[in-house]
């Protein structure tokens, strides 16, 4: 976990030289999210200054988009697709299993900080559901039986 000071240093280096026209705001916030795992109040302040926007405007953008988080979550973000196509092949049951396996309800991080479980809506893998995204990897045909092994592999990998 970075300290607040480290975070701001990272951020400043990320902002240096980045174009600050309005259309680049979202890409910059996405870069902040990727680098720091969140868009903190300090980040909002710095980005707002760089783009010559009010903090409220930047904060408004941060809170609108699901990918941008105000607080950091677990190391591995586990997203279970809850779209209709996955519903038709049992994603509701899968989600209940995921909650039971990880011991948290959707939208929460495990106490050890390893996993963050959440619902997502469609990864375009609708003929091979239920689909789970972990980090940047998409897993298809995930049954309640297959899920624990998938999570255990990540837990062991650290």
């Amino acid at each position: 976990m970075l300290t607040a000071d480290d975070e701001l240093t990272e951020l400043q280096s990320l902002l240096d030289g980045a174009p600050t026209d309005a259309s680049n705001l979202l890409p910059v916030l996405q870069a902040v999210q990727r680098r720091l795992g969140r868009v903190s109040p300090g980040a909002v302040r710095l980005v707002a200054a760089a783009f010559n926007l009010s903090r409220a405007e930047v904060y408004g953008v941060v809170t609108f988009y699901g990918d941008l988080r105000e607080t950091a979550v677990g190391t591995h973000v586990v997203q279970v697709c809850m779209g209709e196509a996955c519903q038709s092949v049992g994603c509701r049951t899968l989600m209940r299993h995921a909650e039971a396996t990880l011991g948290v309800t959707a939208g929460h991080t495990t106490p050890d900080g390893h996993f963050h479980l959440e619902a997502a809506y469609c990864f375009g893998n609708c003929a091979l559901g239920p689909t789970v995204r972990i980090g940047d990897t998409i897993h298809g045909a995930i049954t309640p039986e297959r899920l624990p092994a998938l999570l255990a592999a990540l837990r062991n990998a650290g």
Partner: protein
């Protein structure tokens, strides 16, 4: 000559182990010292056969379906590349009925070529449309698209030619081509498949649109839920620039056009064109009131073509073979082909490109082969989360814009999701409202509040609380959302809800037999 063995580099195929299969094959080739190489093609969209490994043969490409990493050694048991006589072979791909019964135009190259080979793309009729467009006036390009009867494939089905003509006629210092690749509807994956299997087709289509309206800048707004697609598109754009397809002199002409890739940030509403434009401008993805139309005042207030991936892709074929050939397929005012995305609880799911007009039943039975679970199918949702749930009695409806509208349904982006008899349609109706509440941009009241209240009312109906009152309340709420919402999210969320009220009332109400409202509703 080095022979090729193909393993799809597609999200779906990779989600069930294609990368591991490709690695295992490469290891076998090395171990056996074969003169062969793994080619990562796109997927043909036959997800029921994935991972689908293919080799070249005298009679065409031979397939080996559902290959798992542990089966790779078996594929190479003879010490050579597998042939069609191999026990795991499914024969020549083009002879498989599921493929033969399709009419592939937009997806003709998908799965056949290496998606990142411009050489392959050209060898399979790529860039023919753009080359022809470069010899034509902008007016003639637009006329060709207009005559083809091409309608927006994103769901709204607005005539593409009219949109292009509006932008062409607008006077401005800058015009934009924006590709809506925010394919958020559950049950749809055609945009993703095309961008992963044949990305140059999208680039060519956007460039044709640019020539037609006089734009020099293009943007692709891709959803962040497609991380593999992002990589393919970035590579394709770089290769297109290096080859001079994009840049200051498009294919050596005097035209300038380049494309920037932008990634969404997890918001469904940004698939709505005006919210998408707001997002590209670095703002919250809040829907704009129309007018002004984006065609006149779009991105940064400039005339902008906003088209779906498949609309832009279809333009390449229309320009290459002419509008007459394209318009020859289809029914009524639904011309050309539509890639149906057959999925959910279905045995043979995947992308089925056909002329408009096939019936839902034909699609389910001929292509889908029934449900994956083996239980009877109960409902089919067509057109994404905002589309109607069709009961068995409506499955003989042809899949075309007009015929679907006539039964209170819509075709949307061509998603067809099958549910078996275990589905609780009351839960589906409640989900439709809850999803709208989750994704509403919040600008207009009918959508913002209506969806939340809608989910609450449906929950009460399902619990059997004061059914008569809540049923009529829900009807009123649906009407308010339909008539009063600013965009299609609020306006169409009632469609799946109403379809459940109309056809599955028993699921929606508490299950007391002979409930008075069931007879009232039918």
């Amino acid at each position: 000559m080095t022979r090729s063995i193909f393993v799809p580099n597609d999200t779906g195929a990779r989600s069930i182990g294609a990368d591991e299969v490709a690695d295992a094959i490469a290891a076998q080739i090395a171990a056996l010292g074969l003169d062969a190489a793994v080619v990562r093609n796109g997927s043909r969209g036959a997800y029921w056969l994935e991972p689908l490994v293919e080799t070249d043969s005298q009679t065409g490409r031979v397939g080996f379906a559902n290959i798992r990493p542990h089966q790779v050694a078996e594929l190479f048991a003879s010490g050579t590349l597998p042939t069609r006589d191999h026990p795991l072979s499914v024969g020549v791909i083009s002879e498989i009925p599921w493929f033969r019964a399709q009419q592939r135009i937009t997806f003709a190259r998908a799965g056949v070529i290496d998606p990142l080979s411009l050489h392959d793309y050209r060898a399979h009729n790529g860039l023919v449309g753009l080359q022809r467009a470069l010899t034509m006036s902008s007016q003639d390009i637009v006329r060709e698209v207009m005559n083809a009867g091409l309608r927006g494939r994103g769901g709204a089905a607005f005539p593409a030619g009219i949109k292009w003509e509006t932008v062409r006629n607008a006077t401005a210092s800058q015009k934009y081509i924006v590709c809506n690749a925010d394919e958020g509807d559950s049950g749809t994956f055609a945009d993703r498949l095309l961008m992963e299997a044949d990305p140059f087709q999208l680039i060519e289509g956007m460039t044709i649109a640019a020539l037609a309206v006089g734009a020099t800048e293009g943007l692709i707004y891709l959803r962040s839920e497609y991380p593999y697609t992002e990589q393919t598109l970035r590579d394709a754009l770089r290769l297109a620039r290096e080859a001079g397809v994009l840049g200051p002199a498009v294919l050596g002409s005097s035209h300038t056009f380049d494309i920037t890739l932008r990634i969404g940030a997890g918001s469904y509403i940004c698939g709505e064109e005006t919210a998408l434009l707001e997002s590209l401008e670095g703002k919250r993805g809040v829907v704009r009131a129309k007018p002004p139309l984006p065609a006149l005042s779009g991105l940064f207030g400039k005339p902008t073509v906003v088209n779906n991936v498949l609309t832009l892709a279809a333009a390449t074929d229309i320009l290459a073979t002419g509008s007459d050939a394209y318009a020859a397929a289809g029914v009524e005012r639904s011309r050309g082909t539509l890639p149906f995305q057959l999925c959910g609880n279905v045995r043979r799911g995947g992308l089925v490109e056909l002329p408009f007009g096939i019936t839902v039943r034909d699609l389910l039975e001929t292509f889908g082969g029934g449900t994956r679970s083996g239980r009877p199918a109960k409902a089919i949702q067509v057109g994404g989360p905002l589309g109607a749930y069709l009961p068995t009695t409506q499955w003989d409806t042809p899949l075309a814009y007009e015929s679907m509208a006539a039964i209170g349904a819509m075709l949307g982006h061509g998603g067809v999701v099958v549910f078996d008899e275990t589905v609780d349609m009351g839960e589906q109706a409640e989900f439709a409202m809850a999803f709208c509440a989750h994704e509403s941009c919040g600008k207009c009241t009918p959508c913002r509040l209506g969806s939340t209240r809608g989910a609450e009312v449906i929950a009460r109906l399902r619990r059997g609380e004061d059914s008569r009152k809540h049923w009529s309340l829900l009807e009123e709420l649906c009407e308010t959302m339909e008539l009063g919402s600013l965009c299609a999210l609020g306006g169409l969320t009632p469609m799946p809800v109403r379809s459940v009220m109309r056809h599955f009332a028993g699921d929606l109400l508490s299950s007391a037999p002979g409930h008075v409202l069931i007879s009232e509703a039918t």
